[in-house]
């Protein structure tokens, strides 16, 4: 017996794996199998497409460019860099009820917030409330790290420095008088941003933490005075700041400014004439940028976007057509058992 074993010592194992005979499912993608697949996908896509399209159609959007390129534009006079604290007004009217809650965005175009070096120019540790980074901000913030007197800039970096600074007030014209529409600035930033990623240093009053630091060069007020109305909306957890700091993915973008949810406007903006008062501070014309304000209501699919609904409808229809073509092919050229 020992002898026998020696004789076959080299014999390979006869297992399904070594002999490459593992049981396997061998799908063959041919017309016969694909037809029902295409049919199901096609029908499902058309269904989704219809839902998306209908939803998107129901969303109302009102977009207004207030850059003031046009001479006739009310904000044209503010485009002059020498004019300081310029105010301008845009009048508009709404024909039917603009269903609430209405979201109030500002939009910038041709603005590359996704520029690599711009995105890098930020110190997350500082923004996390770490005081050691107040005195010596990260290298990455350079050249917005220290001012000319070598004082640390807080918050440092190009991104914070370039924060959007226009402010808006909305009035409904009721019987010739301006009735201010209350704008809600709470909860417009991500919850995780205001509660986890960004923190103020635990120093009271907040201002003390900013001793020996300077505000970013372009800023009108230091970080601890961003919202004079609400003491809890200051420092790094200021909602407008947080919204700005979330880098837009594309060069034409919107950012949420306010929501219209309270007072007489809980149901939305009723039909009527409105006037928008703009504190025009943010220069964009020098690099070919545009500024807009957008009023929009939202649905489960976010803002208005017809593209996805149409895409689903087109692809769904294509799948149906394909399945018909396949059926013809299948009937004509089948390579199957009975032949």
């Amino acid at each position: 017996m020992v002898k026998q074993k020696q004789e076959t010592a080299n014999q390979p194992d006869n297992t399904a794996f070594t002999q490459q005979r593992l049981p396997a499912w061998q799908p063959i993608i041919s017309a016969g199998i694909v037809i029902p697949g295409f049919l199901i996908i096609g029908l499902a896509f058309i269904g989704i497409g219809v839902a998306l399209f209908v939803t998107s159609q129901s969303i109302q959007v009102l977009e207004m460019d207030y850059t003031g390129v046009d001479k006739t534009s009310p904000c044209n006079r503010c485009t002059d860099p020498n004019v300081k604290s310029c105010l301008c007004q845009m009048d508009f009217s709404i024909d039917t009820l603009f269903k609430g809650p209405v979201f109030f965005y500002y939009g910038l175009s041709n603005y590359y917030q996704n520029f690599r070096k711009y995105g890098v120019s930020i110190d997350y540790n500082q923004l996390f409330g770490d005081l050691s980074y107040f005195t010596s901000p990260s290298e990455k913030c350079s050249p917005y790290q220290y001012d000319n007197n070598n004082n640390p800039i807080v918050p440092c970096g190009a991104m914070a420095n370039s924060m959007f600074s226009d402010t808006f007030k909305l009035f409904q014209i009721v019987n010739g008088t301006n009735k201010e529409v209350p704008l809600d600035g709470k909860g417009i930033a991500w919850w995780t941003d205001s509660n986890i990623k960004y923190r103020n240093p635990s120093v009271t009053p907040l201002q003390m933490a900013f001793n020996n630091t300077v505000k970013p060069l372009l800023w009108a007020n230091p970080a601890y005075q961003l919202d004079p109305a609400d003491a809890n909306n200051n420092g790094f957890i200021n909602q407008d700041f947080l919204v700005w700091m979330r880098r837009a993915a594309l060069p034409n973008f919107r950012k949420l400014y306010r929501r219209i949810t309270s007072g007489d406007y809980t149901q939305g903006l009723p039909a009527g004439n409105y006037t928008l008062q703009i504190a025009y501070n943010y220069p964009v014309l020098s690099f070919g940028g545009r500024k807009t304000v957008v009023f929009s209501n939202v649905s489960w699919m976010g803002g208005k976007n017809d593209f996805l609904g149409i895409a689903y409808l087109v692809i769904g229809s294509m799948c149906i057509i394909m399945s018909i073509v396949m059926l013809i092919v299948y009937a004509k050229f089948r390579f199957s058992e009975e032949e």
């Binding site: 076959t8 080299n10 014999q11 390979p12 070594t18 002999q19 490459q20 049981p23 396997a24 499912w25 061998q26 063959i28 993608i29 041919s30 017309a31 016969g32 896509f45 603005y111 590359y112 996704n114 520029f115 690599r116 070096k117 890098v120 930020i122 997350y124 996390f128 350079s142 050249p143 190009a158 991500w190 995780t192 986890i196 990623k197 837009a248 993915a249 594309l250 034409n252 973008f253 919107r254 949420l256 020098s286 690099f287 489960w300 699919m301 803002g303 976007n305 593209f307 996805l308 895409a311 689903y312 692809i315 294509m318 394909m322 073509v325 396949m326 092919v329 299948y330 390579f335 058992e337």
Partner: protein, 1117 residues
Amino acid sequence: MTWRSPLALVRDALAGQRARERDLRSLVSNLPFENQKKTRQPNRYFSGNAIKTTKYTFLLFIPMNLYEQFHRWANIYFVGLAILNFVPVVNAFQPEVALIPILVILSLTALKDGWEDFRRYQSDRKINNTPCFIYSMKRRWKDVRVGDFVKVVCNEIIPADLLLLHISDPNGVCHVETANLDGETNLKQRRVVPGLCIMFVPESFDSTVVCERPNNNLNHFICYEKPDREKVGAGIESLLLRGCKVKNTQYAVGFVVYAHETKSMLNNSGARYKRSKLERKLNTDVIFCVILLFTMCLIGAVHSLWLQALPGVPPYLVPYSTGQLDSPALSGFYMFFTMIILLQILIPISLYVSIELVKISQIFFITNDIDLYDEGTDSRAQCKTLNITEDLGQIEYIFSDKTGTLTENKMVFRRCSIMGTEYPHKENIRLAVLDEPDSEEEVIFDQPPRTPQTGWSLEAEDTNLEDARHHHGGRRKSKISLNADSSVAFSSPLETEVIPDRKLLQKISKTESSGRQQMDPYLDFFLALAICNTVVVSTATAQRQRQSALTSDNLCYEAESPDEAALVYAAKAYGFTLMARTPDSVTVRLPSGKDLVFEVLDTLAFDFNRKRMSVLVRHPVTKEHVLYTKGADYAIMELLGTPYAIAADTQYHLDCYAKDGLRTLCFTKKIVSDEVYESWSVKRRSALAAINDREELIMDTAVQLETKLSLLATGIEDRLQESVPDTIVALREAGIQVWVLTGDKPETAVNISYACSLLKDEDLLVIDGHTLAMALSSDLQDRFVDLAKRCRSVVCCRVTPLQKSDVVKVVQDKLKVMTLAVDGANDVNMIQAADVGIGILGQEGMQAVMASDFAVSHFKHLKKLLLVHGHWCHTRLANMIIYFFYKNVQAYVNMLFWYQFFCGFSGTTMIDYWLLIFFNLLFTSVPPIMFGIMDNDVSAEMLLGVPELYKTGQGEYKSSTFWVAILDAFYQSLVCFFIPYMAYWNSDVDLFTFGTPLNTISLFTILLHLSIEIKAWTWVHWLIMVGSVGLYFIVTVAYSAACITCNPPSNPYWILQRQMADPMFYLICIISTVVALLPYTFHVLRNSINPTPLMQARHLDKLDPFSRDQWIKEWRS
């Protein structure tokens, strides 16, 4: 250690160098110097016996391994890019993070190398510490030095090359088994150096041993000893090689001539590396990728200049701390490099490692294939060259030798012609017919002398002065025994059983009874069969377990070549039994029962120039010196003394045999007078002691004696290996041209070719050696190749080994085809000339196997090796490589590139860099490797049943395939980028929220694309595919939850979680994936309208075996 002047050290080193390089080395015993300082030791210049096969040392592992790895230019490329990332003006990622991929690849490779090296180290240590006796003291192998006396006991492995001085057996003969060295399991005889006294005492050994420089020829060694004045020569027959086992003696004592530079070590050249056709194609495609990369980077660099057109400096443009911006040209220049860093993955970093892994698995599957395992010799298929497995699927021309390749080289006596009368042995034929289909009984003779193979000439004459009667060629592998153990070659009763021809039997009994024994040619014929060989008779005392079960007559024949054994068995069948063979005598039992003891005076061993061997014996009755010679017919016919009528008749018979495919051998006898013998033996002795031109001198003496022979004559045959015709038919159906290159006569070659279905049609080309020499001349090459291309079959006969390799080279060069050479013996030239060399582990030598890329045990194994493994290996690897290119272009490189159009060509990535790395290293690295290892496009049964599929499989990786894959990748990346782009257009989407669906879509598209490519899903596939998707979500979710400020300024915190709560995310992912994969519809349509043969085969594969076979038949007809 005493101080020595540096000058003395240098002088010593130079002397050592000289001593090592001298053509002859003089060695003396170490014993007299035992207690002296090292510098006094006479043999100190020669290296010790410790071996070291490791590549690295412990301390220098990292630098040495890195040096090794940087021989691969891809690694340099990636390290260069990682370093480039440390330059602040061009960096695209955090520099430290950018090092991760290349570090992972380098350390994985280093880990693999380190593990292999550690295994080598362990085995070295084990070998070096093996105990052995160095002159009665127990020591270890590594302590053995040149000049020591080493004692080896029976069955022990020899630690170094020893000159055999003394053994326990008074005959002075023992045997060695060289299986460890060359795989040959037959025993080889070794003798003590002649002329030494029986009572051997190492202390009194005062001779100087002069030997040649170490070389790797296992079958050649010359040295002489100078005890006093007279030289005593010794050859390979007195050398015990390291790695062999000593048999048939209790112990042996030898003098160490080579310690580290042993023949086995010098033969150990390690695995070979060839570059496969696929790899060459791959490299051109990599170059295309580089061009593509540069184009994309250039586009990026040029576009980045758009900023200059702006009237003012936008707030998002960050100047230097000096407040200045780069000049346009400079920023464009920097951008070019940033883009290279960004898009570097276009050159697949893990491709090379993956290819290596896949090849390891392919070798594993080939060597573990049970169909390629031969029980007879207990041998698997072997892969000697590790990286050309896929070339097996690309073969267009096969060049095959005949002997041992197409034929089995197992032989049985078939017919003979004595004194011009033919004895056809019809009984054997009848039995053979009855025995069909096995036809085991067919009588087969092989005649290696016919093929003038170079290997043989090296062997030369190594007979010794007195009585070394055996040539220990060692190239022939055979095991002769009478037992019925089927695992031992030549031992099957069917093969050894010869039924005597009745007429001939009658004739013999008549002559025997008549008493005219000495004169009778019939008796002489059978005596010649029994005597004229080097067959060793072993009995139960032989310490080989396998053959211990002996038949009643207790005889066991060990022959070095199968034909010798066959002839001895034939003689035995007629009652002439070879009873015993010692170096000095041969005992033959006659049919009458009488034992004749012939004194063996000399053995003139076989060599290639003479193509014959002779034994000179003294007849016990007549006391005459009789020379029996055996050889190829044309080598014998010209030496016949007086031309006489029998010669013509015999030649006629031999020609008939050749036409029947039989092979032929001639026996002759010559009576040598006393005077002639005396004068000849003097010359012979001086020739044997010579160290220069020893071989020629020995051959000359042999030629001198082998003249004026009287013909006895015989005729013989050869048999095909099992399933050779089937295999050849299948290979030809697979579109492979099969050429037979043989040293045989045209008649035999043509006959064999018919027998193995090579020749069926008229369009064949038979060309002989002389004609071939002309055809291969440079001006006729083109025409020859052109002619050969038009012929269905080409048979080249009477060609030399050199011509064989020339033919292969010419075909390879002129037709630009992949060639494969198969050989079962020793056509090293031909095997090395071809793209793929295959050795048959046959009955004959192992040289071909040693030089081959792959070794199998039978010719029939080629069918599965090529049609199945070749097809699979090539298809898998080709598909995997294509997929890799696709994957790297589609994922990231293109997505990142498209994104550059929307981030001002600033080099921003829309996903966290860690996730980018994970994507390539974790989420999408395993599925393609699994695809390369395990995909089965068509079952083995189908591939064997329809050999035509082999041809279709060859076109798997064309350059168009590469471009289609790249185009597909471009299309998919456009879809995967622009559908989300449109969906998020004009919204408040932020950077990573936009990147996450892109990443996810990319993953799904890549994996689904692979799923469509996978032809057979086993549980492993499911596990890995589902696992990859699961891993992606788990790792990304975990990373997005854990990382708040860990990788500044990148900040993916809670992104995927938010996206996963948004229905839009799923809707975008679904439609993008579907649209990206929509072009597969064309595949579907093509599969239905005009299915490729492979596709049809896959359809058939799904049927049950019975109806599938029916279909195959129908399809092929």
